[in-house]
Each structure stands twice: as C-alpha cells, then as structure tokens.
C-alpha cells in the first residue's frame, strides 16, 4: 500500500479485515498498522502524517462498518497522556515498543505523578531515583490517586534525581514496569466507599535507563506535555439544555410533587439558570474555537462545572428528604469509570466533592485565571531558587 489517503486506507482495511469475521484484537492491530489509529501520527507509529481533522472521517467510516473500537475510556490515560508524551520525547525504539499495544488496549497505562506530600505543588515530589553503575535506576517512594494502577502494565513516572537543585530542575521522567516486584498497589478507598484510585508504593523498583523519557533533570518539562494534554480535553460536544445533573434533578421535581416546597423551588430555579448559563458558556467557547478565535473561557469551564455539580448534588439529597438519608451501596468496589448517572443521589453528592480537587484544584484554577487571564501579579515565590533538599516539608 502506497496510497496515504485515509479514506482509501480505511476501505482497504475493511476489505482485508471484515469486522464481522476477524477477532477484535486482530482488527485493532491491523488498524494500527494501516496508520488509522491516529492519522496525524507519523507513518509506522499508527498514523499517516495526515491532518488531524481526517480522524473523524476515518472513525465515522469504521463505526458505520461495525468495526470494534479500542475502548478509549478505559485506556484514557495511555491514549490521552502517555501517547502524546512518548511521541514527543520517546526514542524510535521506545515508540515502536509501546505505542501499538497502548493503542489496542492490550497494555493499560497509569500515571505516577501525585504524592501524599506533592498534590497541587507537584514539583515538590519526593520519590527518589538513583542511577547505578550498570545503568539501572533504583526508585523508592510513594504515589497516590493512581487510576488503573491495579490493571496497568506500564506507568509514566516522575521522580527526583537531583535533590541539590531547585525543585523544578532535579526531576526526571521514566516509564515504570508495573510488574516489577518492588511495585505494590493498594486500593485507596474514598468517601463514596468505592476505590477508583490506588496508592502505589515503590520500594527498590529497578528501571533501566533505556526506559527514561527525555533527558535526566528535564522531567518537569516532559511532564508539562503530559499535563497539557490532560487539560486539552474540554467538553468537545454540544450539550442539550437540561443535559447532565440538572436534567436528573428537574425530572425528580416534575415527577415527585410531594417533595416540593417554595424554598426549594427558588433554589431549583437558581440552579437551573446556572446550569443553562454554563451550557451557553461552553457553547460560546466551542463557537470561538471553531471560528479560530480561542478564548480564555476554557480556563473557567472546570471551575464552573465543579461548583455547579457540588451545589446541585447537595440540593438533590435535600430535595429527596427522607430518601436522602439513605445510601445505595457502601460495598467496596473498583469501578473503571465514574458513573454519576447509574448511582443514587448520595453517591453523586459525595463523588462531586472530588470535582474541585482532581485534575487541578479550584484554588489553583483561580490562580491560573487571575494571573494568566486577568494579568494580576503572582504571589511572591519563596521556593523558586532554593535547593529541593533545603525546602521545609
């Protein structure tokens, strides 16, 4: 095949591997090899070097033919964070080895960034990596909030390799083999009763230097690629009016007249307006992006969503009255996806508490808006030029 047109490639793939006749994994591997995984990636790495916009054409054509998908939600960390970083900083050998099973979902990835003592202040991390004479790093430390660690084959990891320089400088970025005997994964049970995340204890974990991404001491810069890709995923799709949580609450209001009081009515309407305004704000942002005028509104999307979700879910429990005193299930379980819709109000109330913490706290987002959007001066930084080992922790 020499033709690099994605549409022609898609038809060739479907002809050679009819989805109804071949195994799911065989199809996904063939799709990767045909350059139809990410058409904008280079040839040989799941792509065709084609414009990113053509991916939608390929995806639509494959979906119409009933082709299996690669379950992008379950393997989201690999696809959204590890893959772009490997593409940008990985060697040819690293790219060849990791990208294909990552994309097909044969190998699940997780992210070992946050630590108990380094959350919003991520660069304060204390996990140590020391290089032996034989070219192998030994890693010791503890990570936290790790989704998928119990199913992951590989992890992206940042660790401190030089404690004598300021905190942003002495960090290096690695790929960690989760089957190493020094890796211990423990479920971290949350206020909802379930364990979406894990604590990961690293004790004498051995990482060959060939599994380093980017230069020694350059890990903070590499991690920015990962984190920027995490934040790119702003709700790309238009949401209908009363989509999401407000729709659920409005439906309860309509079908359960016995729950209504004048005071709750006022608050419901206030939430309804807030939800509609947030929806219109997202719609305006999408129109700006489509018109090639990216606006700063995106920085506020998560902040606004977290506030609304917390107010609405608290309101829902209150509206339900006596039912709000119950809870559907405290059994420890390990969901792969956060299921806001399939659980009861108490779960939604508790889970929404994480919305203002995960992926950047609301306080950090407010700082970002104040400094980068409004142009207000930063707080004085007392830790910027101090060697990491001299910081108080």
């Amino acid at each position: 095949m020499t033709d690099l047109d994605p549409t022609a490639r898609t038809r060739e793939l479907l002809a050679a591997f009819p989805p109804s006749e071949v195994d799911r994994l065989d199809f996904l591997r063939a799709r990767f090899d045909a350059g139809l995984a990410w058409v904008h990636f280079p040839v040989g790495l799941g792509g065709l070097g084609a414009p990113r916009a053509l991916q939608a054409v390929v995806t639509a054509e494959l979906a119409a033919a009933g082709a299996p998908d690669n379950d992008p939600r379950r393997i989201g960390i690999g696809l959204g964070m590890a893959a772009p970083t490997i593409l940008r900083y990985g060697t040819a050998e690293q790219q060849r080895r990791w990208l294909r099973p990552l994309w097909t979902g044969e190998e699940v990835w997780c992210q070992l960034f946050s630590e108990p003592g380094a959350g919003s202040d991520l660069a304060a991390l204390a996990t140590r990596a020391v290089l032996d004479a034989d070219g192998v790093w030994t890693v010791d430390g503890q990570k936290v909030w790790t989704s998928s660690a119990h199913t992951a084959r590989w992890a992206i990891l940042i660790a401190r390799t030089d404690p004598t320089v300021p905190k942003h400088q002495g960090i290096t970025y690695f790929v960690c083999d989760m089957t190493d005997p020094g890796v211990e994964v423990r479920p971290l049970r949350q206020i909802t009763g379930e364990a979406e995340f894990n604590e990961v204890f690293l004790t004498g974990v051995r990482i060959p230097d060939t599994d380093r991404l980017g230069a020694v001491g350059e890990g903070w810069r590499v991690a920015q690629t990962t984190l920027n890709n995490e934040r790119v995923a702003i709700g790309g799709q238009a949401v209908p009016r009363e989509g999401g949580l407000i729709g659920m609450v409005a439906e309860t209001w309509r079908t359960r007249p016995e729950l209504r009081t004048p005071e709750l009515h006022q608050r419901l309407l206030q939430h309804w307006v807030d939800a509609e305004v947030l929806r219109l704000t997202g719609e305006r942002l999408r129109q700006q992006l489509a018109a090639g005028q990216p606006g700063p509104e995106g920085a506020g999307g998560k902040l606004g969503f977290a506030r609304l979700a917390q107010q609405l879910t608290g309101f829902e429990v209150e509206l339900l009255g006596e039912e709000g005193l119950g809870y559907d299930d405290w059994t420890l379980r390990r969901p792969e996806l956060v299921d806001f819709n399939g659980r009861e109000a108490g779960y939604r109330y508790l889970r929404a508490k994480g919305n203002s913490i995960e992926g950047g706290t609301s306080e950090i987002l407010r700082n970002i808006i104040a400094e980068r959007v409004l142009g207000l001066p930063p707080e004085p930084r007392t830790d910027k030029d101090v060697p990491w080992k001299e910081l108080s922790r």
């Binding site: 305004v277 902040l303 606004g304 808006i369 104040a370």
Partner: protein, 343 residues
Amino acid sequence: MNLLYSEIEEELRASVRDLLRDRSPQDVVLARVSAGLGYDPALWRALAVDLGAAGLQDPAVGGTLREVAVVMEELGRSVAPTPFLGSAVLATAALGWERVGERTATLVVPFSGGAPSVRAAGGRLSGRVTSVADALSADLLVVPVVGGSLWVVERASVDSGVTVTPRTSLDLTRPLADVEFEGAPGQLVTEDPAVLDRALLTGAGLLASEQLGIAEWCLASTVEYLRERRQFNRPVGSFQALKHRLADLWLEVVGARAAARAAADALATGAADTEILVAVAASHCGTVAVRAAEECVQLHGGIGMTWEHPAHLYLKRAKADQLALGTPGRHRARLAELVDLPA
C-alpha cells in the same frame, strides 16, 4: 444560535465606543449628573442620528437586535446618560421604526414592571404611571392601556394633557419620572396585547447586554486598580484572597456574556426558545452586574466609596437595572412556567 460578534458588530462597537469616549467621558457624566442636567441632548443626537444607532431596528437599514444589543453593552460600559433604552429599544420595538423615526420616544410603563393603569375613552387617555424611564426627554409617548391596547401620545402640542414630573432616582444616569394623562388625545396603535409583551421581552433581553457592559467595566477597572495599588509592600492584586474573588467574578462575567448574547441572538432571529433565553439572561446578568459593581466599590477601598470615583455611577445603574423590567426573581418565576418546573 450564534453567540459570537460579527465583524460588522465589532465595527459598530468601535464607533459607539469612540463617540462615547470623546463626548461622554466619566468626568463629564459626573459633572452633568451633579449639576442635575440629566441627558445630554448633543450626545444623544450624535449617537442616535449621526451614528444611526437609534435606527438599527429600521428594516431599511438591515440592522438587527444583535447590533442594538452591542450598543447597549457600550452604553452600560460608559454609563452614558441617554434615552436609548426607552426610545431606540422599548418604544421602537412597540411602535416600529417607521412611526418613531428620529424622534425621541419612550414606552410609558413603570420601570420596575406592573400592569397598565391608564384608561382610554373617546380617544383620550387618563391615568398616572409612576417611575417611567426616559420620559423626561420623550416627544412621543407609547402608552399601554387597561385592556391591552397600545396608544401613542404626542407631547409637542400645547394642550397635550400630559404632565411629566421628575423623580429623584437611585440611578443618576437614567432618571425616572411620573407621567400623568388628563384627557390626553391619543392615537390607537394596536389592540393586540402581544405587541406590548414583545416590546417588554425585547427590553428585558437587551437590558442584559447593558448589564454585561456594566459588569465588564467594573471587572476591568478593578483589575487595573489592583495591579497598581500597593499595600504591605506589594501590589494588592498579588494577594490570593483578592485574586480568587476576581477569578470568580470573571467566571460570572463570562457566563453573562454567553447568556446576554444568546438572548440577543434569539430575539433577532425569532428563535422558538426566545422567552427561555431572555429569562435566563435577565435573571443572571442583573445579579452579575450588581455583584461586579459591589466588588468594584469594595476592592477600590476608600476611593471606591467617594463621589469623585465613577464606581458609584455603575453601582447605581446596576442596582436600578436589577429591578428594571422584572427582578431576577420575577424572571425565574416566568422561567418556571416556560420549562415546566411548577412551584
């Protein structure tokens, strides 16, 4: 639904902004209101006639309510003392540009809302309407009467039977007046009550754009002040407690912009959900403008409390606007009917 601004709208905005900056800077506004001079007729003529901003609803011009909304934003941003809302928005929406033309008009309704109380008998109107916006400068009074019909009264005639009494108003830049009709000769415009409803819906929807302009000025001027003002040996704006307040306010203003734009676009295009979008914009933007003005006064510290700083003009306009053409609570009550969330 198009929530962005077109190139033509941005050009219109620039023209209006230039005019207001040249002819109605804040010290001039303050001097006029302090002297009790009310509206600036020269400014109004330049804006309405020379720039053509009052005639944007003229079908021959091809303007739309989206553009009228942009003018409202700029008038809010500058707290300019003009009768644009009463004349170019409310009266023109009720009567049509053909009949208003270049005259100054207003819709004779209580600015805080309420049902008509004027009565018509034998072509003559009688009754009193309190707290009417933009009545002092109006040549043409568009009067809803009991029963739902709409009349027009010319004030120019010697024996007009109309008395307009100024009130001392909270909002210095949009003074209110009581209007009394004593057998005033009027012409019937329409007996269709939907015309008045539509004009009031248009007014409430476009007032949200004025509120957006107020909020944007309050946020921008506060940010500017906090970047420069130093206390405790650093810029006040570097304190996280204040940065977080401004980030939250910014998010509300961003929401107000989307909501006001949605209402203006719906009014302009006749969208099926226009009433919903107007109720959302009116309830949200009114509150955001007040909050922005209150934060502006507070975060300016002592200077924000003075007569010489313009912040109070914005606070007064914002608070009066919050009550105008329906409080946020009234708009939410209407919304409850529209989206089937009964009390």
